[in-house]
Symmetry: C2
Subunit: 357 residues, 2 copies
């Protein structure tokens, strides 16, 4: 049975988008491919309103988390840890032989610009890593404000994991001073997983030119060269996923990104009100709740596992809390193409299963 996905990724993909994958295969060195890849790339630039470089890697975002550090950090970075994925990024840095210092807040809290600025004053860092939307806790960090603050530190790069945010919440690479920002497409893009969009500033490109052992598969300079030469990629890309992405980018542009961000904000607000009305509490610090995934405290001690089993029978899936938050919280993803009506339908089922008044 098809379960509609209200998990924080992969998200629900529309039938016509799934079917767009099934076009006949083409060669990645043929003109047809260059046209396709150019089309997808330019549509992403248009949606984000950016003139920065856009690279689309065949990998999950985890690969690009690694690639970003290998491209632009020679030695020392500053991590901001507020959940499982920001912690993963830090560990990836260490697994690649880089040195990292850490700002860490309790899960559920947000990273504030002044926390970062205090560390930056030491002058020790080449880059700051920020997780825009921490999928494990449902916290959205104040990226715009962090970017503003970092304009006082022009030698330090701002690197952003926007995995569960891009296309669901505003991101302005140039205006906010973001040097690298990436997101996999199985979240708010509402596409099947396997591709990661990466937006790279000229400053980051210049930095990469000075970094040794950048590796090959995620090398920004290799991607740039091949794109500029022929609108192609150095290695064979996932052509069928790009078919679906080209189709979906048209749908996103047709909705309009501002309308899309608004839809996400409305769904998030509806979910929060629903949670409070039924006596739950929000897990994130007030004012920093994510517009794409709501993490709700399981204050009533229900079994989230049993809830999901019952929802499965009715054709839905939500997520339990992440890692140590399992059963203490539950997460409802409302991102991608799902509508407020579909969300209301899901919440109605939860009310019925848990017998909420």
């Amino acid at each position: 049975m098809h379960k509609k996905l209200f998990i924080p990724g992969p998200t629900e993909v529309r039938r016509e988008v799934l079917e767009a994958q099934a076009k006949w295969m083409i060669g990645h060195r043929m003109n047809e491919f260059s046209e396709l890849f150019y089309s997808v790339t330019e549509k992403v630039k248009k949606a984000l309103g950016t003139k920065n470089h856009v690279f689309i890697f065949t990998s999950s975002a985890t690969g690009v988390m690694e690639g970003t550090l290998r491209n632009v950090v020679e030695k020392k970075f500053l991590s901001t840890i507020c959940g499982a994925f920001s912690e993963r990024w830090y560990k990836i840095g260490l697994a690649n032989g880089k040195e990292g210092d850490v700002i860490e807040v309790e899960w559920g809290k947000a990273i504030k610009p002044d926390m970062i600025e205090e560390k930056l004053k030491t002058g020790k860092y080449e880059a700051v890593l920020v997780t825009y939307n921490e999928t494990s806790t449902g916290v959205m960090n104040p990226l715009k404000e962090i970017g503003e603050m970092m304009k006082n530190y022009p030698d330090v790069l701002l690197l952003v994991d926007a995995v569960s945010a891009m296309m669901g919440a505003p991101i302005k690479p140039e205006e906010w001073g973001i040097d690298v920002v990436f997101a996999s497409v199985q979240k708010a893009f509402a596409l099947p997983p396997g591709l990661t969009v990466t937006v790279v500033s000229e400053k980051a490109i210049e930095k990469a030119k000075k970094v040794k052992n950048r590796g090959y598969y995620f090398d920004f300079l290799g991607m740039l060269k091949k794109y500029e030469e022929k609108h192609q990629t150095p290695a064979t890309p996932a052509v069928s996923l790009l078919y679906a992405m080209d189709y979906q980018m048209d749908r996103i542009l047709e909705e309009g990104v501002e309308a899309r961000y608004k839809r996400h904000a409305v769904m998030a607000e509806f979910t929060r009100k629903w949670a409070l009305k039924h006596g739950f509490e929000m897990f994130p610090e007030k004012g920093y709740e994510s517009p794409t995934v709501s993490t709700i405290k399981n204050t009533k001690g229900f079994s989230v596992k049993d809830l999901n089993k019952e929802l499965a029978k009715r054709g839905y899936a939500i997520s339990n809390g992440y890692g140590k938050l399992k059963e203490q919280t539950f997460r409802i993803g409302h991102m991608g193409d799902v509508t407020l009506f579909e969300l209301k339908e899901l919440l109605w089922h939860i009310e019925e299963i848990w017998n909420l008044k």
Copy 2:
């Protein structure tokens, strides 16, 4: 217009396989995914007759070329260069800060066991890199014989790029003493690109445990842990491509791998005879011609570019020579699911366009 692909990858993918991608999306932490991933992985093991570990990465093989070196080579490897892709692998090693020595033969020639053995006697190497089927020249290197010879050097790992070979030609990981062998699925698997199958011996796993800075995305130990725990992957995999792969592995097992290898050998032999009959010559050294891609010397000085333009109108695509071999050779890929009948049809069109007697 749909062009049937006789290029050396991506290869033609059957309509029903393309459509298998379009199933509803599932979460990669749901039981449905574990079942899917286990199913695909075990079918690959069955097809290869191996008990070694099988990891399926979401990336092109280029990523795993890099990952393999990062996993199991601390310092020094020996490359065997006989074309563009074996050279790429060497460069990837250097781009990751490893040291590499090189055995190099003229393009079109094969790598022989004694060339490698001479170097191995120095005792300087942790691993030998062999490209089983060099896609740029159409040469198949004698992997089985290389593996036999290397049994005298048990401390040296044998790492194999089998990109345009796996599922089109025999590979026996244990019997031939191969420690790592990988292939992307858009070649003889006849699938859309985006996944890379990697077969890893216990010896390679033990070596990886001693290597630092293995990285994260392509880390064998991370893949092993997550597979053994839950039949899952550390990062989000390309679910829709795995749907197609699960379906296609059934088709491959139904044909039978021996029959599949035989079909490839028959198509290759037919193509060689056709080439010679029409006054062309084969580019590869005699006895080392690839069963999956035939590289033919353009002894008549026809325009390969124009041929492909005309073939395009008739619904076919072949490949020009690779890099410096452009227009000096042309390449006909006969791998994956294409049949001898389809190949004959293609060759008939070439005869007609070039007015061959």
